[in-house]
């Protein structure tokens, strides 16, 4: 058995998901080769325990993401099961590699057990599939679903050059607009209520939201009283949202507010009143003044690996 990991290029060295993929490879068993398109972070990769070989795959084509060209460059090098991370690039590239090799692909695996027993969510998390794989497949693994492998390895690093030509040309890069995500689309929402004390404190929620890629929501009380846009209002007469994570800061959890957010997958509440009804639906409740808790929360988020 062998496993080939295709590690997504990353600007600052090795892609942070690589140690997790190595860990997954060790569960599958057999030799583990890491291919890094563009070659960034190969040295770091070689020091992860369990990696046998690192291939720096160099070529002009790696300046632009072009899945069909990249998969042509990569496919010849892979051996055995192929692992990638479930990122936008990982999804597209893995499917392309799989189809090119005439294999099946399993995306967004959240659990992996020996004998290639996999689990993955479907129907937007409303169901979980248990999958068994025989033979060589291409698999993407959800970031942070699996622990990282330890460091302490010393794999061989070699270089392969690819002469593949890009089929896609970039005409223009458009920087991310400063626009906020809409609460009805966001996977993480941080909402503020009257407990924030003043409208200006929403800036603090916004900076946490920026670190999380989250949208900012609000309770009706502050939408009405501070004149915030109605589109931010979560609740019965606002938006009904079902993000993976809903963070309620200084919101009491009135029934009308709960109506709009209680089906969120996880709810974190920060409120100074231990009796606040929001704690009744919270998966994680922090009883504290938000002025104290939010900076600590923000720092902890920023220092996540």
């Amino acid at each position: 058995m062998s496993v080939t990991i295709v590690s997504e290029p990353h600007e600052e060295g090795m892609h942070p998901t690589l140690p997790q993929l190595v860990r997954a490879a060790s569960i599958i068993g057999g030799s583990c080769t890491v291919i890094i398109p563009g070659g960034n972070g190969a040295d770091e990769a070689s020091k992860i325990q369990g990696v046998e070989k690192v291939i720096k795959l160099n070529g002009a084509c790696f300046s632009v993401f072009d899945s069909s060209t990249w998969s042509a460059a990569i496919s010849g090098l892979v051996d055995g099961t192929v692992l990638m991370a479930t990122t936008p690039i990982g999804r597209e590239l893995s499917a392309s590699i799989a189809a090119g090799l005439g294999r099946s692909v399993v995306q967004d695996v959240t659990s992996i057990a020996p004998g290639l027993k996999l689990e993955r969510p479907s129907y937007s998390g409303k169901a979980v599939e248990s999958i068994s794989v025989s033979g060589d497949a291409v698999i993407t693994i959800r970031p942070n679903a699996i622990e990282s492998a330890e460091s302490g390895g010393s794999a061989d690093v070699s270089t392969v050059d690819s002469g593949e030509n890009l089929k896609i040309a970039i005409l223009e890069a458009i920087a991310k607009a400063g626009e906020r995500l809409d609460v009805s689309e966001a996977d993480i929402i941080i909402s503020g209520g009257r407990g924030l004390g003043d409208q200006s404190n929403f800036e603090k929620l916004e900076s946490v939201a920026d670190s999380l890629g989250a949208a900012v929501g609000a309770s009706r009380a502050v939408v009405d009283e501070w004149g915030l846009p109605h589109s931010m209002q979560v609740g019965q007469t606002g938006k009904t949202v079902t993000p993976s994570l809903y963070i309620a800061v200084g919101i009491s959890g009135a029934i009308q507010h709960l109506a709009g957010m209680r089906s969120s997958r996880y709810i974190l509440a920060i409120n100074k009143d231990p009796e606040a009804p929001i704690f009744g639906v919270a998966d994680y409740g922090i009883v504290a003044q938000w002025e104290d808790a939010l900076p600590i929360l923000h720092e902890a988020i920023k220092s996540l690996p």
Binding site: S67, E92, R103, S130, A173, A175, L245, D283
Partner: protein, 251 residues
Amino acid sequence: MKVAVLIKQVPDTTARISISGGLVDEGSISKWTISPYDEYALEAALKLQSESGAKVVAITLGPQRSSKSLIDAAAVGADELMHVLYEGDTGSLSLQSALAAAVRKSEADIVLAGKQAADTNSGSTAPGVAQMLGLPCVGLVSEVKVVDGNFVATRSTSSGMERVSVNGPCVFAFDKGDEELRRPNVRGIMMAKKKPIESLSPADLGVSMEDGGVNVESVGYPPEKPAGQTFQGAASASEVVTKLREEANVI
């Protein structure tokens, strides 16, 4: 120019999913719709139809009930409808082969699809079909235009947006765009009912739906969340962040 749009029929995203005997109970699903991202692909195809005179062929693979999504596509303006009729479950490989064969048969120049389906949530179809057709693929696209004979697409990247150009046939996988989706009008609905659907079996396309390797053993409900936990004091915030990462896996 001919544009193929790959459309999948899925349970409405608000539908409750019931599971029995290790399978999703399809009978309990009251409402089926076109998978949301596919609707953006269809909208983009209809834009190419009105702006560049393209013909739009809507293609679906699925059981009999999924022909409804083709009629819905016709109601907003799809010119041709092709149904690869297959009642069973599909693996990614056979599905992609059958769709690629259908695209070939339709003689479409470019292919638009959603970035991922609302049921399987995989996102393999567009890049897989591209590979099988020997075409490039551009993902996370919100817009495609024809500019001087090239296809110019806007796609999102980790750092923002990018306008990319492809100078020949290509597969584009659509994300949600800014475009408002058009609504069918009565005339469209009445014409849709008269539009013929070309119905083909995988065998007609020379494709076998046997797909070794990956086996969905069973489907179940996600595990129950642990009971709510309460922490006293601001300092606990960092512990909670760790739990959000490790226990809940949401950040």
